[in-house]
């Protein structure tokens, strides 16, 4: 019974989504090599906190997403060490970046300079992984998602990102956000707010590991006893469904709640017509006359 209690309380499944947008890392203040080192040390710290902890790392690129690390794929010996984690992750990352480069060059629409990372795809992969863990047995670790985001939000992914956020909320999976870029992320602000996660934008990027260890390494059970940074404000702006741009005032379909920046006669999402007039019963001519 003690083992079961410990298992359900403080055992974590941490899915880390890493932003690998090359357009961001080319001009980032923190080099990707240093960032990767902080990430590897954080993953190893999670694995050292509890031998039952489960860590998965998903890379979000420009044209694709993939798993670059899964702690359940341990070797036959069962011993996980820093060198092995680093070797596997770096090799997978190298292969993924090369593959994403080929996919991006073949996809002409992403060739412009301000492309966004596939945050929605990465979140979907994370949620699918968590669902598989949920359905594998009665006892499972407490899942959560940590997003390490650097590039700006892509308004065209608003619908997919919001669907992922609501799915995480429904599954009671918190989404933590750590912004390593220069500007805040409205998507991740809303994600952490809705799912009950922690949103943080570090000031000292050279101390990224300290932020990760102090704020994001705690399991969900321990968070009820700790005082973590609180979000002082959330950017609740949305993106319109017709032009995929960020708006703060618009029109909403009363049937499916789709958001538009201009008035439409028909909803492009659910097909409702807004200009239909009910038949006027009083216009029937009087038969007595």
């Amino acid at each position: 019974m003690a083992s079961s209690k410990l298992y359900s309380d403080d055992v974590s499944l941490a899915v880390v989504v890493v932003d690998t947008n090359p357009l961001f890392w080319a001009t980032a203040a923190l080099p990707f090599a240093d960032f990767f080192a902080h990430l590897i040390h954080y993953v190893n710290s999670l694995l050292l906190l509890n031998h039952l902890n489960h860590v998965v790392v998903i890379a979000a690129g420009l044209s694709s997403c993939t798993y670059i690390f899964d702690s359940s794929d341990a070797s036959a010996s069962g011993a996980a060490d820093v060198a092995a984690t680093f070797a596997k992750a770096s090799r997978k990352m190298d292969e993924f970046i090369a593959e994403d480069a080929r996919a991006t060059s073949s996809n002409g629409s992403v060739a412009d300079g301000n492309a966004a990372s596939l945050l929605s795809g990465a979140l979907s992969l994370a949620l699918c992984y968590i669902q598989r863990v949920f359905r594998s047995g009665t006892r499972h670790p407490q899942p959560r998602i940590l997003c390490l985001q650097g590039s700006p939000d892509g308004p065209e992914q608003y619908v997919a990102v919001m669907n992922s956020i609501f799915s995480a909320q429904r599954s009671m999976v918190p989404i933590d956000s750590c912004i390593v870029g220069t500007q805040d992320s409205a998507f991740l602000q809303q994600a952490s707010y809705i799912t009950g996660g922690v949103y943080l934008k570090p000031q000292e990027l050279n101390g990224l590991f300290q932020y990760l260890a102090a704020v994001f390494a705690t399991d969900l059970h321990s968070r009820t006893f700790l005082r973590l940074p609180k979000t002082l404000g959330v950017d609740f702006r949305a993106s319109c469904f017709c032009h995929k741009k960020t708006i703060d005032m618009g029109y909403v379909c009363s049937v499916c709640l789709s958001i538009f920046c201009k008035y439409h006669k028909k909803c492009s999402t659910c097909g409702s017509e807004f200009n239909r007039v009910m038949p006027d019963l009083n216009s029937v001519p009087d038969q007595r006359q």
Binding site: P22, W25, A33, T182, Q203, A214, R227, G233
Partner: protein, 604 residues
């Protein structure tokens, strides 16, 4: 301002070839000296006599000489017309004249690039009633902030009086409803039966009348009122009038028919009081005509119950059925009661101070209106019925008839700023000290090559030990503790820790004034769209200028803020500048839309 000298031609008429000379102008006067000393066209005119100036538009297609006309008063007539060599010289003279006229008239001179309107479209001061003006002045005196806004925008020629008060109809309505007072009415007691006082020794009786009693007699008996206006003071004095009135009352009360008939034959004035009141009879007949004919009543002129011989109880309670002649008045108790009740319900319509009998009679005559003619249409009948139904209501017992309005809810700036304290610190750590995003733009392939190079260096160099320096870790922990403590302190909702409390008082008051001004301007700005008339266009231009000035002041406040409160002031100013930016962007979009539509006259 100085003076200016320019060459010009003086023309008496448009077709006059003109006299060449030199035009000199200064602040007080202008002179014209012709080149030909023998010419008699010398001018020396004070600018005080000049009331306006006009000029014509010179187009490239139509050759016309540039002209400037300085006009005098309309009653004196005439003016001075000058022709210049080119448009530039004319414009310089026009600007100089505009400044001089603007200075002496005490108003802002018109912009040089805008030609004056040929048709006078500006309406004069609207006709305001004295009560409305008093209500506005009272509101301005009570509300100092409203007075400040009024002084800034209406006296500053940005908004007009009607525009300023159009958005404050609810205030004026509340003020108007407050001004309604309770009206004095009539007593329900019937005072017409004035009892005289009599001493026992002689047959003399004395009637004591007050203006209240006289007012009620006139209201209940229109014939007596009319007789008073006709006879007093032309034919008889007021005392003689009331002596005859009470003589007639005495004769009617004693039912001495023979004596009444005899005295009516002798005294023509006395006979008026002994006859039936024809005014009341006419009113009764009109009321019967207003009955809806669909009720299927056989209504005729005789159904006013006045002519029925045996109907009702006689005034003094007896049931005398003697068939007297129809000349003398017969009044039943029900008729008198109905008349008295109608008078009480109508109320005292005049507010004139009841000082003497003449004033009372004239006041009632003014308030009384002529009864309408018998030939009336159904619509008029319906309107009259509505008015009659409303007239019979006692206003004191009714709810105030203010029209339902939905006031525009302008949020209190203090509540807004207090609620913004959480959002103000959203960018806690928002200063980008630790990161500098370079603006160099790389192609996608170069970016991928860079990233692959980083990963290669990772593979070659391996992991660094330690990954973080101890002093950096300490700094991070201190920052986290500071941030958590600050957010915890802000969550206490202590009013002293409000965002406004950390700003010096002078700056805070200044920001409050700017916020109130911005709300007023934005309200008028957004309500002016779509722009359909030139009046709206000019209004939007004035509002934009005012908003630009406030925008500049906000920037100055941000730049001159002290370092310790600069962050808070910047957070407070941001929503104001965002609201102003939205208005400016909307104006730009409208201009682009209009210019775009102009480029395609045939449409898409």
């Amino acid at each position: 301002m100085g003076s200016m000298t320019i060459g010009a031609k003086y023309k008496t008429t448009l077709k006059d070839p003109g006299t060449t000379g030199v035009l000199r102008m200064n602040e007080d006067k202008f002179t014209f000296t012709p080149h030909d000393p023998r010419s008699a066209m010398k001018l020396n005119v004070d600018f005080r006599s000049i009331k306006g100036h006009k000029f014509n538009k010179v187009d490239g297609s139509k050759p016309a000489p540039p002209l400037l006309n300085l006009s005098k008063d309309s009653d004196k007539g005439g003016g001075y017309m000058f022709e210049f060599d080119n448009v530039t010289n004319r414009d310089l003279s026009r600007d100089f004249v505009a400044k001089v006229l603007g200075k002496q008239q005490g108003t802002i001179p018109p912009k040089p690039n805008v030609p004056p309107e040929n048709s006078v479209t500006s309406t004069g001061e609207e006709q305001l009633s004295a009560a409305e003006m008093q209500r506005r002045m009272k509101l301005l005196q009570e509300d100092s902030e409203l007075q400040k806004l009024h002084m800034k925008f209406v006296l500053g020629n940005i908004l007009q009086e009607s525009e300023f008060w159009a958005t404050r109809k609810n205030l004026l309505e509340d003020e108007a409803n407050k001004g309604s007072k309770q009206r004095p009415g009539f007593k329900s007691a019937m005072l017409a039966d004035v009892r005289p006082s009599a001493d026992g020794r002689t047959n003399k009786v004395t009637f004591s009348l007050t203006t209240e009693i006289i007012h009620q007699i006139f209201a209940e008996k229109p014939a007596v009122h009319r007789a008073f206006l006709d006879f007093v003071p032309k034919k008889m004095s007021e005392k003689d009038f009331w002596t005859k009135y009470f003589r007639a009352e005495y004769l009617l009360r004693t039912k001495n028919t023979v004596a009444a008939t005899a005295e009516a034959a002798e005294d023509e004035e006395l006979a008026i009081f002994l006859k039936n009141d024809d005014i009341l009879a006419k009113e009764a007949r009109l009321k019967i005509k207003r009955v809806d004919p669909t009720l299927d009543m056989e209504a005729d002129a005789g159904d006013d119950y006045i002519h029925l011989p045996d109907h009702g109880i006689i005034r003094d309670g007896s049931k005398e059925t003697i068939d007297n002649d129809g000349e003398l008045a017969r009044r039943t108790l029900s008729q008198d009661l109905n008349r008295h009740a109608a008078v009480v319900l109508e109320g005292r319509s005049s507010d004139v101070e009841l000082t003497d009998t003449k004033t009372v009679a004239e006041a009632i005559a003014r308030s009384k209106k002529e009864p309408p003619s018998s030939s009336i249409s159904d619509d008029t009948n319906h309107e009259r019925l509505v008015k009659v139904a409303r007239m019979t209501e006692i206003e004191d017992l009714q709810a105030p008839r203010s029209l339902p309005y939905a006031p525009l809810c302008i949020k209190d700036p203090r509540e807004y700023f207090d609620s913004q304290q959480a959002n103000a610190l959203r960018s806690l750590g928002g200063n980008n000290d630790g990161r500098h995003a370079r603006n160099c733009r790389l192609s996608t392939d170069d970016a991928f090559d860079h990233l692959l190079g980083q990963i290669s260096s990772i593979k070659v160099n391996g992991l660094n030990y330690p990954v973080i320096q101890s002093d950096v870790a300490l700094k991070v922990l201190n920052e986290l503790n500071e941030g958590i403590s600050r957010s915890r302190r802000l969550n206490l909702k202590n009013p002293q820790d409000s965002l406004l409390g950390q700003i010096p008082r002078r700056t805070r008051d200044e920001l409050m004034d700017h916020w109130a001004a911005i709300q007023e301007l934005l309200q008028h700005f957004w309500s002016s769209y779509p722009i359909t008339t030139s009046v709206l266009y000019n209004k939007v231009q004035r509002i934009k200028d005012a908003m630009t000035q406030i925008y500049q002041k906000l920037q100055d406040i941000k730049e001159s803020a002290q370092p310790d409160v600069r962050h808070e002031i910047s957070q407070l100013v941001k929503p104001m500048t965002q609201a102003l930016d939205a208005a400016f962007n909307h104006d730009l979009e409208q201009q682009q839309k209009s210019s775009k539509s102009g480029n395609k006259p045939n449409g898409f």
